[in-house]
Structure formats: structure tokens, C-alpha cells
């Protein structure tokens, strides 16, 4: 249901992102908004600035560029380049291809969820790892496989995770 604005733009504050960031976003909008494809350009630059596109940033862009939220979301969800969730320092990919799945990929996911509170699309509370599921990393002979950044770890057992993860600081 519609909520009625009771604060002016000047007084709108946001807890996730600092007001400095909003000033920078405002500056991006000011120098971009009359160019062709302005919304995508602004979104790209805002993501470059914040790392991802949290709701507060999208709302600020919507308000200042007078673009409905739903339209922005349409753009952001269409292009895989955009991310609505923060990315960890390291992106952890767990292979769920056929071979890895059969050899225990799911158990790895289970362990990550239980021990690290990390789910696909999510991020650890310390911001170190974010988790993605992938299909076949091309080393099925050594499954199950996980990748952290550029490193591929083979024949991973749930019990190895602790050592592997603690080697990334």
C-alpha cells in the first residue's frame, strides 16, 4: 500500500549507506542524467561506487531521476552485471554439476549453511565470502570441486572446509 512521504529529500537519511555516498550518487546523476541510456550508466557507476546496489541506493536513484522503482529493478535484474547483494572479498563457488552433485556437492552446501551461515546468493557476516552455485567447473574427475577466486579445490570433503576457508584472509 502507498506510503505518503513525510520527509523532504534533504532530510532523507539512510542507514546502510552514508550520506557522503549519496552525495556522490547525486553527482553521478547530475553529470549523466541527460545522456542517452542514463539509467544504466548511473546504475553502473553507483555499483562501482558501492560494490552492489542496495535498496537505499536504488530508491535514491529512483527519486532523483524520477524513474519508478519497478523500472530500475527491471533493468538491474535483466543484466547479470548488476548485483543486488553485496559480494564477499572472495567469491566461493560450489559446483553442482552432475558429477560433483553425485559425489557430495550438496553436503558441502549443507556444511556451509550450518557452520558458516552461508547460503547461495548470501554472504558471511564478516563479508569475507559470498556463495554461488555453478554448473560443472570442468574437472569432474576430481569432484566434488569448489572454487575460491581463481583457485580450484578438488575432492573437497566437508571436513576440509575449515582449513581451506581459514587460508583466505
Amino acid at each position: 500500500m502507498a506510503k505518503v512521504a513525510t520527509e523532504t529529500k534533504k532530510s532523507a537519511a539512510n542507514s546502510v549507506t552514508s550520506s557522503k555516498t549519496f552525495e556522490k550518487i547525486q553527482a553521478i546523476i547530475d553529470r549523466t542524467s541527460n545522456k542517452a541510456g542514463a539509467s544504466i550508466r548511473v546504475l553502473q557507476q553507483a555499483q562501482g561506487l558501492v560494490g552492489y546496489l542496495p535498496p537505499g541506493v536504488l530508491k535514491a536513484i529512483s527519486r532523483d531521476m524520477k524513474i519508478p522503482l519497478s523500472e530500475l529493478y527491471g533493468i538491474v535484474s535483466f543484466y547479470s552485471f548488476f548485483s543486488l547483494v553485496p559480494k564477499g572479498k572472495y567469491v566461493l563457488q560450489v559446483c553442482m554439476g552432475t558429477s560433483c552433485y553425485v559425489k557430495g556437492g550438496e553436503k558441502i552446501l549443507d556444511t556451509l549453511r550450518k557452520d558458516y551461515n552461508l547460503v547461495p546468493g548470501g554472504i558471511t557476516s564478516d563479508g569475507r565470502f559470498s556463495l554461488e552455485m555453478v554448473r560443472c567447473l570442468g574437472c569432474c574427475g576430481l569432484s566434488p570441486v569448489i572454487a575460491i577466486g581463481k583457485d580450484v579445490h578438488r575432492k573437497v570433503k566437508p571436513s576440509h572446509l575449515k582449513d581451506i576457508l581459514s587460508s583466505y584472509r
Binding site: 502507498a2 513525510t6 519508478p68 519497478s70 527491471g74 535483466f78
Partner: protein, 669 residues
């Protein structure tokens, strides 16, 4: 009119230049199947059902987007086209859940109708077993993405006609789906105003109204043309009735003007929110209200009214009506008070608002009345809108949609002048936020700033400089009114350069009961660019559904009217016609305390009926035939939609019953 001639399926047909091929087919009774097309919305050619073959075009083209030209040769139903349409349908049935037996829309679904027509009993591709979420978070509207065909009708109506653009497409490919705001559940999408237009626009069972679910298909209901009498916009509606209950309310021309409805008109009326009164009540010796026959109740009222007039004179009875009642009820009520009782102690519950508007208008220009106001449609033509002290999304939502539409389609600059709220979010170019109580000063400062921006040769400017505004110091006034000078100057510039400005004001301004505010608003409007200085485009959003009707009929008193004052000064009895209004205003309840005898005619139990000596039943809007006048003066009527319980009589008949029982001879004393 520019006529063109086309050949469709071998026959020559005439059409209007500027139409699409589909429109010409429809106008000539040639059936072309469609899904994403909805009259009144922009056509996008998304579904490919309406493909037609056109001579010299290499491929079939969508009729809904193809501009008709003189001499076009069109085929609408070749073997190739029918094969193609069948494929489109098969793909739709493959992609999502269209297992009709489990769908609420079965029997009222455009996809199902086409499925039957093309005899889709199987499809060549494997079924995709969709598992999209079901969104039931909203109070009224439910979305089952599994039944969506991505036609985009909901998206277009929400942005083009409702004006809020809550819905759009999210994701892509197989995951493509309708998404609200930041892909939130609809109930949490802050831009949604819950109007239900998307529900009516949806051709399938993907969007549904909880209030109508499982209560009967349209073809099992009786459909009647009516008018919503809730708020004064006066939306024309089609009401679906089954088993003497309202099942569903649709707008008559979905994508037309005044055609989107609001949650109150579309949904709230389907629920009974208050306890109904379906028998007369009489206060007995022990002081309790007890049910009695209508004859007994009328006898009591007739006798008491007669006695009171005989004993205390004709000015001892006052009548108050709610402007929610129909014109017919109000007419009868007024006639009763003037002809039978013989006085002019009548008023409407919103009489104060009436007097404020009229006094303000008279001061602006003598002789000006309600007729000085313009129509809601002017909002859609505006290039600059000023909304003062009202949240139309609460009070008159469809008027709010007009404002959204005008502002969001980039046609109009929107200025909000309001102490504490801006219902239009980023659609408002400027929000002037005066300190409470300083609205008049703010409006006058804005007027002066507008005059300053008009060209110097303008006669208006010269004239105005000699009046009260002449001495005003804008900077000083702004400071006092708490308004940002830059904002004020921006707003003034927009108003000064506009060619078609419209000012809308309402509730919060009227509640102040200060005619000077109205005069100030009218003066501001008359100074804005290209206005008729005698009849500036201004609309007041009036308090009740039939306020304009009641006021036109002279129900609202021209003089100040205070119930408690009257009862102190000799009024012994009060007759209240509430009809289906629910009143818990303490001022009225307190005012009634001074009266010896109180008669309330109402559809619902309320604190007011609880304080009556006699309660007479009154049919609701749905239970009576009647007419209502919109806030901009258009009168429309509704038939009786449902049968009242216990065959409650119309207000007019009850009033006639009382008249008959009053001894006329007592009257002229």
C-alpha cells in the same frame, strides 16, 4: 474526419486515418484474436496472437500495432496465421500453469476462451512445471505468477492509467516475471495504491481479487451499470451481483477516464464494515432501544414532531442530512423540513466546508458559487498542477491517479503545498512545506512571486501591485511561513509560465474553516499563466460522495449553523438523515445532547444512532435506486442492486410516512 479504405479478407471496409489495423477490424466486426491488447492502453505487440498478413509485407505483422493506411490489403485468417496462433497458444500453455480446473479465473479467462477456440488439448513441447511464487501479501490483490502470460497489460495500466508504475517486468527469459517496486511482495510495495486495476486488466487468473475469489463467475452473476457514490469522483461501475450479494465491482471502461477505480470503490464496498440496521428501533420506558414495527415508529415520530411544533413553534425542530445520501433522499428531506415543519433549520454534516468554499469564492468574485470550479478532466490536460492540503490517494483516489498520470507522463509540473505530506513522492517537482497555520501566508507569497514572474506589461501585475499583496516582502513572508525561497521561486516560475495550470485543494484546507484560504487559492490560480481570471481552473475535493449534490439542492445552510447553539436556543428535536453514512463525530453527538427528541434515519448502527429516541432504517447505496452528483457536478444514477433486508423502505417513503402523520393544523402557529 479523414476516411481511408482497406481491403480486409477480400471486402472493402472504411476506417479512420490514424487507427491501427486491429481497430479497423474491430470497428467492422472482423474478429482478430488478441491477448496483450487492451483498449485504451498503448499497444506493444507482445503476444503475437493478432498477427495478420498484409500484401507487400514479407512476414505477418501484429494488427494491434500496425498503422492502417489507405489501400492496405489485409488477411486476418489464413491457414498460415491460424497455425501460427495455435503455436503461440501451445507455447503459453507449455510455459506456465494453465490447468484451468484449478484456476479462479476459469470461465472468465481470455486465454481459456482462445484455448477452446483453437482446441488446445495437447502441446508439442514438454511442460515446464513452473514454480513461481504466489503473492498473497496484499490486502486485496493476489498474484499467481504461475498463471501469467507476460502480456504486460497490468504493467501498462498501472503506469499509464493509475500513474504509479508499481509493476514492471523483472528478470528475463524463462525467469521473466511481473515484479512490484524492488521485486517486493505487492503488499510491501510502497508505490502500490491497491486500486485493483491490474486485476481487472489481467486476461488470465494471474491477478486475482481476494474479495471476489470463489464467490461466483461473472457469467453466473447479474451485471448492472451503476455509479460509485463513495467519494465524489463518481466513477461509473459495473456491479456483479449474485444471491443478493455484491460479488465484484468493475470499472465500465477500464482504460477510459475515471475508469480505474480505487480500493474503496472496488473492494471495500464488497464487505459490510458496520452493523446494519434492518428494523426500526424505539426507546422504551427503561431507556433501551427496542425493535418495533415501521408503523409504530412512524406514529411515534409523527406524534412527537406534531406536539413539539404545536407547543414550541416551527423553529423547534432542526434537520441535518449527510451528503452521502442520494439526491432523491435529500430532496425529500429538504421538502419535509421546509414544507411540513416549515423552517430553514437545515444543514448537511459538511455544511461548514460548504460555507467556507462559498464565502471564499464570493470574496474572490461576488456571485461566484460552486460553478466557478472546473472538472477533474482538466487535470489530465494540465501542464502545471498545484495540490494544496489534501492527500487525494486517501480521499479521492482516482483524482489522485489523474494527478499521477499528468505528472508522470511528463506533461505537467507538479507542485505540492502541504504542511506535512507529499503523497506524490518524486513525481512532485517541488514540495512547499509551510509551517502549520501559515498556509495563507505561503499561498499569498507564492501569488506575489508568480505575479513578479509574469511579463511586466501584464495588466494583472499592475493591478495587483496596488492591492494588499503589493506591500508584501516575499523573503520575509517566506521566512515566516517556513518556506525555502528557492523552492518558492521554482514553483512560481512553473505557475507563471504554464499555459494550463490546475489547482486542487481539499480536506486539510477545508477543515481550517477559513474562507480567506479559499480566496487566496482562487487568486493564486487566477494569476497563473493563461487562466481565465474570472474562472480559474480550481477544484475542491469535497468531503462526501454526494456533497456537491446536497449543496446544489440547498441542503447546506448559508448561515453559520451549530447544533449545540440551536439546542441551547430553543430547538427541542433533531431529525438526522444519515443514510449509509457512519458518523462518530463527537461534535454531533454532543450537539444532540441538548435535544429532547432525536430521530436518526440510518443504515448502520453508530454512536449517533445509539443516542437516538427513534431509529428509522435507511437502505444502503446498493439497496436503493438513486442519483448522485460528482464533486465536479456530473449527476449519474444507479439502479437498486440488492434487495434490502426486511424490505426496508426508501428514505422518501419513510419521510412521506412521517409527513402524513403530522397534524398539519398545528403547523402554522
Amino acid at each position: 474526419m479523414n476516411g481511408i479504405i482497406l481491403t480486409i479478407n477480400g471486402k472493402q471496409v472504411k476506417g479512420k486515418a490514424g487507427s491501427t489495423v486491429l481497430e479497423i477490424c474491430e470497428a467492422n466486426g472482423i474478429n482478430v484474436p488478441t491477448l496483450c491488447h487492451l483498449k485504451g492502453l498503448t499497444d506493444v505487440g507482445a503476444c503475437r496472437m493478432c498477427l495478420v498478413e498484409i500484401e507487400k509485407e514479407r512476414r505477418p505483422v501484429p494488427a494491434c500495432t500496425y498503422p492502417a493506411r489507405d489501400g492496405l490489403v489485409v488477411q486476418t485468417s489464413t491457414e498460415k496465421l491460424e497455425k501460427h496462433r495455435r503455436l503461440v497458444l501451445e507455447l503459453l500453455f507449455t510455459e506456465r500453469n494453465h490447468l484451468c480446473a484449478y484456476c479462479l479465473a476459469s470461465g472468465d479467462c481470455e486465454l481459456q476462451i482462445l484455448g477452446y477456440e483453437y482446441q488446445i488439448d495437447s502441446w508439442r513441447y514438454p511442460y515446464s512445471w513452473p514454480s513461481f511464487p504466489l503473492d498473497s501479501s496484499d490486502k486485496h490483490v493476489m498474484i499467481d505468477h504461475n498463471r501469467c502470460i507476460l502480456c504486460g497489460r497490468c504493467v501498462r495500466i498501472c503506469s499509464e492509467k493509475v500513474g504509479v508504475h508499481t509493476l514492471d517486468f523483472g528478470y528475463r527469459g524463462w525467469k521473466d516475471r511481473i515484479s512490484a517496486d524492488l521485486n517486493q511482495p505487492l503488499g510491501e510495495a510502497s508505490s502500490c495504491i491497491d486500486c485493483g486495476a491490474c486485476f481487472q486488466a489481467c486476461p488470465t487468473g494471474a491477478i486475482w481479487a481476494k474479495s471476489s475469489a470463489y464467490r461466483g463467475r461473472p457469467d453466473q452473476c447479474k451485471k448492472m451499470r451503476s455509479v460509485c457514490a463513495l467519494c465524489g469522483v463518481g466513477c461509473e461501475i459495473d456491479v456483479l451481483v449474485k444471491n443478493n450479494a455484491l460479488i465484484r465491482i468493475d470499472s465500465t471502461e477500464l482504460a477510459g477516464d475515471r475508469g480505474v477505480l480505487c480500493y474503496k470503490g472496488r473492494f471495500d464496498q464488497l464487505y459490510e464494515s458496520h452493523q446494519g440496521i434492518n428494523t426500526p428501533l424505539l426507546r422504551d420506558d427503561s431507556g433501551k432501544l427496542k425493535a418495533c414495527s415501521i408503523g409504530n415508529a412512524l406514529d411515534e415520530v409523527g406524534e412527537k414532531f406534531g406536539n413539539i411544533v404545536a407547543r414550541y413553534g416551527k423553529n423547534s425542530i432542526a434537520g441535518i442530512a449527510s451528503s452521502k445520501a442520494s439526491n432523491e433522499s435529500l430532496k425529500a428531506f429538504k421538502k419535509f423540513m421546509t414544507d411540513i415543519i416549515g423552517n430553514d433549520l437545515i444543514d448537511t454534516i459538511d455544511g461548514d466546508e460548504y460555507r467556507t468554499i462559498i464565502q471564499g469564492a464570493t470574496k474572490f468574485r461576488s456571485g461566484a458559487g460552486l460553478n466557478i470550479e472546473t472538472t477533474l478532466e482538466e487535470i489530465l490536460k494540465a501542464d502545471c498542477l498545484l495540490v494544496v492540503g489534501v492527500n487525494p490517494l486517501e480521499s479521492q483516489q482516482v483524482a489522485g491517479s489523474y494527478i499521477f498520470r499528468a505528472a508522470s507522463q511528463g506533461k505537467a509540473n507538479l507542485i505540492v503545498l502541504d504542511v506535512d505530506k507529499n503523497p506524490f513522492g518524486f513525481h512532485a517537482s517541488t514540495w512547499l512545506k509551510p509551517t502549520k497555520g501559515k498556509e495563507e501566508l505561503a499561498i499569498n507569497a507564492l501569488t506575489k512571486a508568480v505575479i513578479g514572474k509574469l511579463s511586466a506589461s501584464n495588466a494583472v501585475k499592475a493591478k495587483e501591485n496596488t492591492t494588499s499583496l503589493g506591500a508584501m516582502n516575499i523573503t520575509q513572508a517566506n521566512k515566516e511561513a517556513g518556506i525555502d525561497v528557492e523552492d518558492l521561486n521554482n514553483a512560481a516560475a512553473m505557475l507563471a509560465k504554464s499555459k494550463h495550470s490546475v489547482v486542487v485543494y481539499g480536506k486539510d484546507i477545508l477543515l481550517r474553516k477559513n474562507p480567506k484560504l479559499i480566496t487566496a487559492i482562487l487568486r493564486l490560480a487566477s494569476k497563473s499563466g493563461k487562466q481565465n481570471p474570472k474562472k480559474p481552473r480550481v477544484i475542491s475535493l469535497k468531503p462526501r460522495g454526494n456533497s456537491r449534490g446536497a449543496w446544489n439542492l440547498g441542503l447546506a445552510n448559508k448561515k453559520e449553523f451549530s447544533l449545540s447553539g440551536l439546542t441551547k436556543n430553543g430547538v427541542k428535536a433533531v431529525y438526522l438523515l444519515l443514510a449509509d453514512d457512519y458518523i462518530d463525530d463527537t461534535k454531533i453527538i454532543d450537539g444532540l445532547k441538548g435535544a429532547k427528541f432525536v430521530v436518526v434515519q440510518a443504515s448502520y448502527s453508530s454512536p449517533v444512532t445509539a443516542s437516538a429516541n427513534v431509529v428509522l432504517p435507511s437502505p444502503t447505496w446498493a439497496e436503493r435506486k438513486g442519483s448522485y452528483t460528482s464533486l465536479d457536478g456530473i449527476t449519474k444514477s444507479t439502479p437498486k442492486l440488492t434487495q434490502p433486508q426486511n424490505n426496508i423502505k426508501r428514505d422518501e417513503d419513510i419521510i412521506r410516512g412521517i409527513s402524513k402523520r403530522i397534524k398539519i393544523s398545528d403547523r402554522r402557529s
